[in-house]
């Protein structure tokens, strides 16, 4: 044997998590960080709703209101739901394809820390002279120096750093899924969640560079006197809108596709049936991913692109409803005639279906350009995207968390609290957002901090705020559930739901090498195939042997810290700090590239017995 160290490095507690390259621990990091940002974004939402509870009140004032809506949107999209999606992908995808690891464990850790430090940078703006206030879309010229304060610099740099993390995370999953599948795991045997993660990662790869460029240009305008978006010097504000939405529209599919994947897994497991129309599901996912790139200008109908462009983009947008409809019918047909159970995971999944359908229908309404002139920038749009993002994605995430919690943490979440969690959140959600459709149709614009009495807007706004409290209670119940689960001493079994895919074939939580022996996959729903054949677990594809593992490393943390420091240098025009930060990052890259990582081996006799069996 060559120069490999033969012992697992002994690290524990915080140090373990700061240096880990294990995808399962990185999943937990994503979940914790995303969860905290979710609570922050939720608090911001609550303040927005309180300000709008009654007409003409001055709870937070116009300036703070602008900061709140900007930070709420930005936080929720980039710092809350994206990382929670990444948490599920990290925890589950390698297990579902029978892999020991992801393709680039080091890059995986780097992706997390970049996201984390980007998010922290963005949020420190609250304490350093004011948060960004130009809306989460940061439209120029509003977002240029004349109209917006330093907050937008935080937006630009925070999102840039976090976005880099997302981009490399996406590449990592693409390579993992293409190259690391267990023997027999053909593409058409991959579980739907893996499929949707795959397509989502592809969308990330092609969508994020557009926002990277947009942010660079905005940064140059704000910090170095560039003129991209300054009409007085020949600049063009519509360029920002194009770049933002070339990223932004695919982004909403980056968000929703993994939720589709979760729903597919959950509905089929709890109906005890294989997913209806599996191959049409795969096809629909790919088609949605493709069309997601063709429709960005439906966010720009009112910018004057002209009738032809508007018509084409409107039609392309409506086309997306077709594959989406296929998916909805397939879920319904999966349940049809199944032996359905309703634990919390499935409640959220089933609640998802009608809610998301409503959101999709208002989407098609918005996609009619002449009608959009009426809806645009009204509360109707707010209702639409919350129906898809909260009623779709967040329901999907809750479903996935209840479903995979035992696998991730080895503890079951409590079902009684779970049901209360579901019902308060579900009812609160509809109370909050259903009235907003009508508020919009009655003329309430979005992004205004108050409204006048007696314009028929009082009642709708009041109900909406009450609903927001319902969602808050639901979220708090989830946190309580997590604490209860952490305290309980009962351990979750390997396969609590009578599952169908590979992740249920190994212990909960999985050992650091996932599979003792790489499994041999013999069909779609790999574990179910073995169960039906009367086998106790998966058939191994290789003899038991030593397992090679990558070493932990502190470099990802340091590299991200370097960029974090450089970010402040840019914001405060202190170029010494910029140079120090960038040099720190570069020297970490240098260290990494000259020092090869030999990793270490886990020896045969150290392997836990259970291995591949259920």
């Amino acid at each position: 044997m060559s120069a490999h160290a033969s012992h697992a490095p002994n690290r524990s507690g915080l140090w373990d998590y700061l240096t880990t390259v294990d995808h399962k621990k990185i999943a937990i990091l994503y979940l914790i960080a995303g969860g905290i940002f979710f609570l922050a974004g939720g608090l911001e939402a609550l303040l927005i709703r309180l300000q709008l509870m009654y007409p003409e009140i001055e709870l937070v004032g116009a300036k703070t209101f602008n900061e709140l809506i900007t930070m709420h949107g930005t936080t929720m999209i980039f710092l809350a739901v994206m990382p929670i999606i990444f948490a599920l992908m990290n925890a589950i995808v390698p297990l579902q394809i029978g892999a020991r690891d992801v393709a680039f464990p080091f890059v995986n850790a780097l992706g997390f820390w970049l996201f984390f430090f980007g998010g922290v940078l963005l949020n420190t703006s609250w304490f350093l002279g004011g948060a960004p206030d130009a809306g989460w879309t940061s439209y120029t010229t509003l977002a240029l120096n004349q109209y917006s304060g330093r907050g937008v610099d935080f937006y630009v740099l925070g999102l840039q750093i976090a976005g880099l993390g997302t981009l490399i995370g996406g590449i990592n999953f693409l390579v993992t899924i293409i190259n690391m599948r267990a023997p027999g795991m053909t593409f058409m045997r991959m579980p739907m969640f893996t499929w949707t993660s795959f397509i989502t990662s592809g969308l990330i790869l092609f969508a994020f560079p557009a926002i990277t460029v947009g942010l660079v240009l905005l940064m140059f305008d704000r910090l170095f006197g560039g003129n991209f978006f300054n009409p007085d010097a020949g600049g063009n504000v519509v360029i920002w809108e194009h770049l933002f939405w070339i990223f932004g529209h695919p982004e909403v599919y980056i968000l929703i596709l993994p939720a589709f994947g979760v729903i597919s897994e959950v509905v089929s497991t709890f109906s005890r049936k294989r997913l209806f129309g599996y191959s049409s599901m795969v096809f629909a996912t790919a088609l949605i991913g493709f069309l997601g790139f063709m429709v960005w200008a439906h966010h720009m109908f009112t910018t004057g692109l002209g009738a032809i462009a508007n018509t084409l983009f409107g039609l392309a947008t409506m086309l997306i409803a077709v594959p989406t409809g296929i998916k909805i019918f397939n879920w319904l047909l999966t349940m049809w005639g199944g032996q359905i159970r309703f634990p919390t995971a499935n409640l959220f999944a089933v609640g998802f279906i009608p809610t998301f359908t409503i959101g999709g229908m208002t989407g098609v309404m918005l996609a009619v350009p002449p009608a959009d002139y009426q809806y645009h920038d009204s509360y109707f749009v707010v209702a639409h995207f919350h129906y898809v993002i909260v009623g779709g994605l967040v329901f999907g995430l809750f479903s996935g968390l209840y479903y995979w919690w035992p696998k991730m943490f080895g503890k079951m979440l409590n079902e009684t609290i779970g049901k209360w969690n579901f019902w308060t959140f579900f009812i609160g959600f509809h109370l909050t957002f259903f009235p907003q459709h009508f508020l919009g149709l009655m003329g309430m614009p979005r992004r205004v901090f108050t409204y006048l009495k007696d314009q028929n807007l009082d009642m709708g706004n009041f109900i909406s705020t009450i609903g927001a409290f319902g969602m808050t209670i639901g979220t708090i119940l989830f946190v309580i559930n997590v604490v209860v689960a952490a305290k309980s001493s009962k351990r979750a079994p390997a396969d609590p739901w009578d599952g169908r895919s590979l992740e249920w074939a190994i212990p909960s939580p999985p050992p650091e090498y996932n599979f003792v022996q790489t499994p041999l996959v013999r069909g779609l729903d790999a574990l179910w195939v073995e169960k039906m054949a009367g086998n106790k677990g998966m058939t191994p594809a290789e003899p038991i042997g030593d397992i090679h593992m990558p070493s932990p490393s502190f470099l990802p943390f340091l590299m991200s810290l370097g960029l974090f420091v450089a970010g402040y240098g840019f914001i405060y025009h202190n170029y010494v700090v910029v140079v120090i930060g960038i040099l720190a990052t570069l020297s970490c890259m240098f260290t990494r590239s000259v020092k090869d990582d030999p990793g270490y081996h886990i020896h045969e006799d150290e392997l836990e017995e259970k291995g591949v069996k259920a």
Binding site: A103, I171, L174, F206, P209, G226, N227, A233, S593
Partner: protein, 208 residues
């Protein structure tokens, strides 16, 4: 898989001999896909703004084709030498790899020097970042490419230094391969810059 290292006989296509190597090559191709979108967005922005000189110097008034032609020649030749390095890699000939890459780096440095000279010259002619939308778009697109060249030079040099110690192994082979791929990519981008920025900029006003 990961067990046979340096002392074993080097397999064919050493850059893809291990799973790590295969992952790196695939990941890097995907990364280049992302870079394509990145440059595509910059090009689109440039094309939209190329005639917005805002009273400042225009591309027709500034561009010196001789200088750009020499720069292009240097970079295209360096692309060829990087291909020679890849061929040497497949022959597992470390000496030749090092030779060709050294030439590549020198040519790259020449290109970079010309570009810096060009930028300084334009600034003296009154084209600053803040002059016009055209100037911002020009410096950003061409500068981004220049930064890629500079990064590539540092990367390849570093690789050459560490390979003198480590030799050609299944660990270093993918790194050489990727560096050459990267260098190739930035050459291709330059061909587009040459066409869209310089050639179209000389004609002026008609296209785009």
């Amino acid at each position: 898989m990961a067990n046979h290292h340096a002392h074993a006989v080097l397999p064919d296509e050493p850059e893809k001999a291990t799973l790590e190597g295969k992952n790196k090559v695939l990941g890097f191709w995907l990364f280049l896909g992302g870079e394509t979108v990145l440059f595509g967005s910059l090009f689109a922005t440039f094309i939209a703004l190329r005639d917005q000189a805002n009273g400042g110097p225009t591309s027709q008034a500034l561009f010196d084709m001789n200088l750009v032609a020499v720069a292009t020649l240097l970079l295209l030749t360096s692309s060829m030498t990087s291909v020679m390095a890849t061929l040497a890699l497949h022959r597992k000939d470390l000496k030749k790899i090092q030779l060709w890459l050294t030439i590549t780096v020198i040519l790259g440095l020449g290109f970079l020097a010309l570009e810096i000279y060009e930028f300084v010259h334009y600034v003296n002619e009154g084209l600053k970042m803040s002059t016009s939308a055209f100037s911002s778009a020009f410096y950003t697109l061409v500068g981004f490419h220049g930064a890629h060249v500079a990064f590539g030079i540092c990367w390849i040099t570093l690789l050459q230094l560490s390979a003198t110690k480590k030799g050609l192994t299944v660990v270093t082979a993918p790194k050489f391969y990727l560096a050459c791929l990267y260098w190739h990519f930035i050459d291709v981008v330059w061909v587009f810059i040459f066409t869209v920025v310089y050639l179209m900029g000389m004609i002026g006003g008609k296209v785009g």
